[in-house]
Amino acid sequence: MNNDNTDHPPTDLTIAVNRPGELTALEQERLTVLLAHCVEPSGVSIDALMCVQQSRGWISDQTLAAIAQFIGVSEAALDSVATFYNLIFRQPVAKVVLHPCNGMSCHLMAGEQVEKAISQCLGIELGQSCRDNQFTLIPLPCLGACDKAPVMIADKILFELIKVEQVPQILNQLITRQANDE
């Protein structure tokens, strides 16, 4: 395989961002591990998608095609699976996805007001991302912490007993975390 750019070999991150139709070395390595333990290749479909989404945030058409080719299933078969699950994003999402719970227990505890507060704070509606690409707002139903309602999951953290006044502070906290990670 030709590598004509010897000065600055593309990093995994660059590839992930700039070449959606190409899997990074690390991604390929991870998929290879998945395939090694599978009963049959199509069995790793969901895990493969989640694995690649970890580094890219979402799965584009080109990335889907690349994954399909790597694991040996058709594009249609893989997309059939990808479009079924709500934690696999087939549209771009921002750096942090906010999942306020919109289940009945959280709504009973005024959870809708928390959602509205986030909406107002960021100037976006449900399903949208804000312009600085910091947050996407995707409510999820029942996050399994009903005794601490209202709750929200974002950046793998579970925020409990959220009061409307706490929303700006929570958002800032998440922004800081993201900045530290980068």
Partner: protein, 439 residues
């Protein structure tokens, strides 16, 4: 490995006694200090049939909501030399039932208890491979289970020739990519196979042809958590714990406008009123109990008049509801019941896998009607339609239990809160919105 040998008093709260609020209470050391893995070690000295018999004798019923006798479920798995292998044993940790939060507790706080339960189950049915199918957003639980499995491997509790016994069992942790329907056991199996989580028709049952066509059993997290104690302390002890026909303890929870929402391990058959008024300390000031869902969003509403009823499968069944997950959701008198039912039906309509007609097309139809009524555009005929839909999606009419569960809160709300429906239609508005400033 630390080996605590002193005799342990049979506990009254077997599943939660490991949790003391300390940082490491979920780890192996803490678990073993309280007798962890002793039940499994005892099981290793028995034959598979003996272990299975103990589980059958205990009368343990599945804690996922259906309440099917666990021992009986396991006995359907074919045994013998020419049965297909590998055999699979799966933990259903895909808790997503609205109002349910009990499995999260067990997964985060007592991961080893689940693993031990799984190991005992594997011994009973001669399973070869185990999966813990956990929902992808239970991040803390995933981290802790991962660590727990690693610890177990290091201590030869998982893998080949476990503790030198010759028994082999490997456990994999699998995180799901969302969707409520994955909690349905056959849909879960399809998801494990990398497919869309559409349920399968039964028969054939998973015990005969399940994951990859092989014999498979799926049980709930809490069900497995009962097993170490049954094996360690015995069937008699277990049966002494219940306050009714059903045995053992159960994690009961309350959420909503109560003073102390939470989760408690209590004997099976504890009256609902006791759970709500004593453990949850009753309604918050300024709120009255209007009704409640006894076991999650897919159970029928009950009223204050039912507070005396013991929380066990049969008693709740007799009053036309279900114990379900045992986590109670309180409907207070300031929240519009239609709004609550609408929230639930929206959830179920959204979580439909899209396979069968009554669920895929019937539930959105109900949502559309409820939305109309809730915002004040409803008509009397809409109630007739809603009643028709609840009959349409009755058990047996659909491919799986999602839609029948979805219409349980709806049919009971129509029965108990008909006045509210009629008021919305007549007055063309929601009085709760006006009076209590919902928005």
């Amino acid at each position: 490995m630390n080996d605590p040998t002193p005799t342990i008093t049979p506990p009254s709260k077997p599943m939660t006694r490991f949790v003391d609020g300390q940082q490491d209470s979920h780890r192996l050391e803490q678990y073993q200090r309280h007798g962890g893995y002793l039940g499994f070690k005892h099981a290793l000295t028995l034959t598979a049939d003996e272990v299975l018999q103990q589980v059958k004798d205990s009368g343990l019923r599945g804690r996922g909501g259906a309440g099917f006798p666990t021992g009986l479920k396991w006995s359907f798995m074919p045994q013998g030399d020419d049965t297909p292998t590998p055999k699979y044993l799966i933990v259903n940790a895909d808790e997503m039932e609205p109002g349910a939060f009990k499995d999260r507790y067990l997964l985060e706080q007592t991961p080893h208890q689940i693993i031990e339960g799984l190991l005992i189950g594997a011994k009973a049915v001669n399973a070869d491979i185990g999966y813990i199918f956990i929902r992808g957003d239970y991040y803390l639980a995933i981290e802790r289970l991962d660590e727990a499995l690693q610890q177990c491997r290091e201590h030869h509790l998982i893998g080949s020739n476990i503790l030198g016994s010759g028994f082999n069992f490997e456990i994999h942790l699998h995180t799901s990519a969302g969707r409520y329907i994955c909690g349905e056991e056959t849909a879960l199996i399809n998801s494990l196979e990398g497919k869309r989580a559409v349920p399968r028709a039964k028969p054939p049952f998973p015990q005969v042809s399940g994951l990859w066509g092989k014999p498979t059993i799926v049980n709930n997290v809490e069900t497995y958590c009962n097993l170490p104690h049954i094996l360690l302390f015995g069937v008699q002890w277990y049966q002494s714990l219940g306050r009714c026909k059903d045995f053992g303890t159960k994690l009961f929870g309350v959420s909503g406008r109560v003073k102390n929402p939470g989760l408690w391990e209590l004997p099976m058959g504890t009256p609902i009123g006791e759970i709500i008024n004593e453990h949850a300390q009753g309604m918050c000031d300024g709120y009255q109990l209007k009704g409640f869902l006894p076991g999650g969003g897919s159970t029928d509403f009950l009223l204050p008049e039912h507070l005396d009823t013991p929380m066990d499968y049969d008693a709740i069944g007799k009053i036309r509801s279900r114990m379900g997950t045992g986590t109670i959701t309180i409907l207070d008198d300031k929240y519009c019941p239609i709004r609550l039912v609408l929230n639930l039906l929206k959830f179920f309509a959204q979580e439909s896998c899209g396979w069968c007609t009554p669920c895929r097309d019937g539930l959105p139809w109900a949502v559309s009607l409820l939305e109309k009524i809730e915002r004040g555009d409803g008509q009397a005929a809409d109630i007739e339609q809603l009643i028709d839909i609840t009959k349409f999606a009755a058990p047996g009419n659909t491919f799986c239990a999602l839609a029948p569960g979805a219409v349980e809160p709806l049919q009971s709300a129509l029965r108990f809160f008909l006045e509210d429906f009629e008021q919305h239609i007549e007055k063309k508005c929601c009085r709760y919105r006006q009076e209590h400033r919902h928005d």
